[in-house]
Amino acid sequence: MQPSKTLIYDGSFNGFLTAVFVAFDEKINVADIQENGQGQNGLFSESETIFTHVDKAKRVWNGIRNKSHNAIANVYFAFLSETEGVELILYTYIQKLMATHNGKQMDYSDGIVLHIDQLAKKVGREKHRMEAFVRFQLTKDDIYFANIEPDFDVLPLISKHFRNRYADQQWLIYDVKRNYGIYYNLDHVEMVSLNLKEIHFNKIHKSDAFVSEEYDYQTLWNDYFKSTGIKSRINPKLHTQHVPKRYWKYLSEKKQAV
């Protein structure tokens, strides 16, 4: 039997897929797949650094997709969850998937399959939340700007939604936690990284980066939020269940009255 190996990749999704390709191609007995710089060597395994290769990654992507569309979404979503050690679980998942006859029938009583499914669901939920909770503010440069702080790295997942929806306005969504954003320039979406001087959450202090009208609309929205609630049915527990407190910071309707 071959000695087991730890594969080191660059942290990108393509890098991970390349690692999977190499592992299958060279029939490596994989001990772990780890991101560059975060690696911890096993006692009895050697490590090999994988260089990202887009063609190889594409072959793995297509291979999984040909098995099942559902599975490729699951793999991508679960990868973006950035959970520690998800790479090895995903690798096992892909092995299991490839072993099935047509990929359609995955075994939900299997721990790994269920785990990946649940991880993907979590990320999917966060994606949906971000589509809902992004609050644009209009800057003086005529860009609709929003900063977010999602639990998972969902920017690549939401870009299509916002591009389709706001096709006639420039917008920029910035992930404060991961320090990059996506910017739409009326033609296509590109990745940007900024030197944000301040984070624009819903504080009372007005920033001069935004047009003055912006704060009028925030006030109107805030008012609307209040007047649309029915006092005799108040249910704070249900409210925080739907809008968890960690998101309140960026929601203009949760701004305290001045």
Binding site: A132, Y144, Y166, E213, T228, R233, L238, H239
Partner: protein, 420 residues
């Protein structure tokens, strides 16, 4: 924009519109065209939630709260002494567009009090939708209220711009309607409904032949009923809901626990509790009918005109029909699985997929997400342990209630509390 004036109007007119429950923005497949603004998300998005936990996905306002009618249950009725206001068409359009661009909302839900007459009001509503679609190239979601008694031509035009149309019948029985809204006739409600239904049928048929047939109300129509205002039973409500689902092809019927807004001999007094639990049970029944393959007369009939308050309708059906149980999860049909209390449709799907690989035991079912505290009494699986005792319905119910908790429990409990 006269900010202060708009602000005042928005407060009045949003406040008056809040009793409309529907806030769905789902079911429409309108896409962004020619680099315009917006698209409709098929699954709908809730952008925020009110403090009573209801979804906010649309800007829900009245065009005006001036009204010529005097319906007892309504907060904007003629005889009620409230502040009145009216939006200009352009003001609604501006608000919608600016809220939409900031990703606050999925679109607009426009309703109105009836001023002058039905057609005059409907015309204004249609004008707002038309302006949004044609001048602003807005492709987001628009929900328009069909005004009872509006003419067929206007209803046709409304459907061309709106994604969903709705008429609230509010009072489920005709006798109740006579009592609470003497100015309105039942036919006024059903006439626009029928027109919209026929147009949707026509649209679907024509679309098969001509792909470019203009969309007509792609998200269908819905209606709403008030619960607990005129003393009707759950059976009355659900039978009438089934009637609307069947004969008018409603996408949704909403149930709204009556929030007392007026001192009126005919209605519950101000300050009495909103029947939220009853509302919840009605929605559960609605789901059983639409997704679980139940027939209405299995759940509600002459012997059982009202739903149980302490257990959900599926459990209560199962307790009345113990002869169907226990069910073997490893061999039963989909429809039978869906009838086991504690197993939802998602669990059913997972069970069907998983049992191709192995016989399932309690552990598997728990991981899949089945509520075993209820399900265990009604099923057997691949395990030596199952409920062997010969339990009667009362006993099972007692044991389930003991091992579970519910936030409404103290409202209907007959147990005296020791403290307070």
């Amino acid at each position: 924009m006269n900010f202060e004036r708009i602000r005042e109007k928005l407060n009045i007119l949003a406040d008056a519109a809040k009793y409309d429950v529907s806030c769905a923005s789902s079911g429409s497949d309108r896409t962004n065209k020619s680099q315009g603004l917006g698209n409709a998300s098929k699954m709908g998005i809730c952008h925020s939630y009110t403090e009573d936990g209801r979804c906010i996905s649309l800007l829900k306002i009245l065009l005006t709260n001036h009204c010529i009618f005097d319906c007892a249950y309504c907060v904007t009725r003629k005889s009620n002494d409230v502040q009145r206001a009216a939006f200009k068409i352009q003001e609604v359009v501006d608000l919608t567009i600016n809220f939409y661009r900031r990703n606050y909302i999925e679109g607009l839900f426009l309703s109105s009090g009836i001023f002058k007459d039905a057609d005059y009001t409907m015309e204004r509503l249609v004008a707002v939708a038309k302006k949004l679609r044609e001048e602003e190239n807005f492709n987001g979601y628009i929900h328009l209220k069909s005004i009872p008694g509006a003419s067929d031509e206007l209803m046709y035009e409304a459907g061309l711009y709106a994604d969903r149309l709705s008429v609230n019948i509010e009072v489920p029985t005709i006798s109740g309607l006579k009592l609470l809204a003497p100015d309105k006739k039942h036919e006024d409600f059903t006439k626009p409904m029928l027109k919209v239904k026929n147009e949707i049928v026509r649209y679907k048929a024509e679309r098969k032949i001509i792909k470019s047939t203009p969309k007509y109300a792609p998200a269908g129509q819905s209606t709403q009923m008030i619960v607990g205002a005129s003393g009707e039973t759950d059976k009355d409500i659900m039978y009438s809901a089934v009637h609307y689902y069947k004969n008018y092809q409603m996408r949704r019927v909403y149930y709204s626990g009556y929030v007392p807004v007026a001192d009126d001999m005919r209605l519950p007094a101000i300050g009495s509790q909103v029947p939220m639990l009853r509302e919840n049970r009605l929605y559960q029944t609605d789901w059983l009918l639409r997704f679980y393959g139940f027939a209405i007369n299995e759940i509600l009939n002459k012997e059982h005109p009202n739903l149980d308050m302490d257990v959900d309708p599926k459990l209560s059906w199962a307790l009345r029909n113990l002869h169907h149980f226990p069910v073997d999860v490893n061999s039963a049909d989909k429809t039978i699985l869906a009838r086991i209390p504690g197993i939802g449709m998602r669990s059913v799907d997972k069970i069907l997929k998983a049992r191709r690989f192995r016989r399932l035991n309690w552990d598997h079912l728990k991981k899949i997400g089945v509520a075993l505290n209820r399900a265990q009494y009604f099923m057997v699986c691949d395990s030596r342990h199952w409920e062997r005792r010969d339990l009667d319905a009362e006993k099972i119910k007692g044991m389930i209630l003991q091992t579970s908790s519910g936030k409404f429990r103290n409202q209907y409990s007959t147990q005296l509390s020791l403290f307070n």
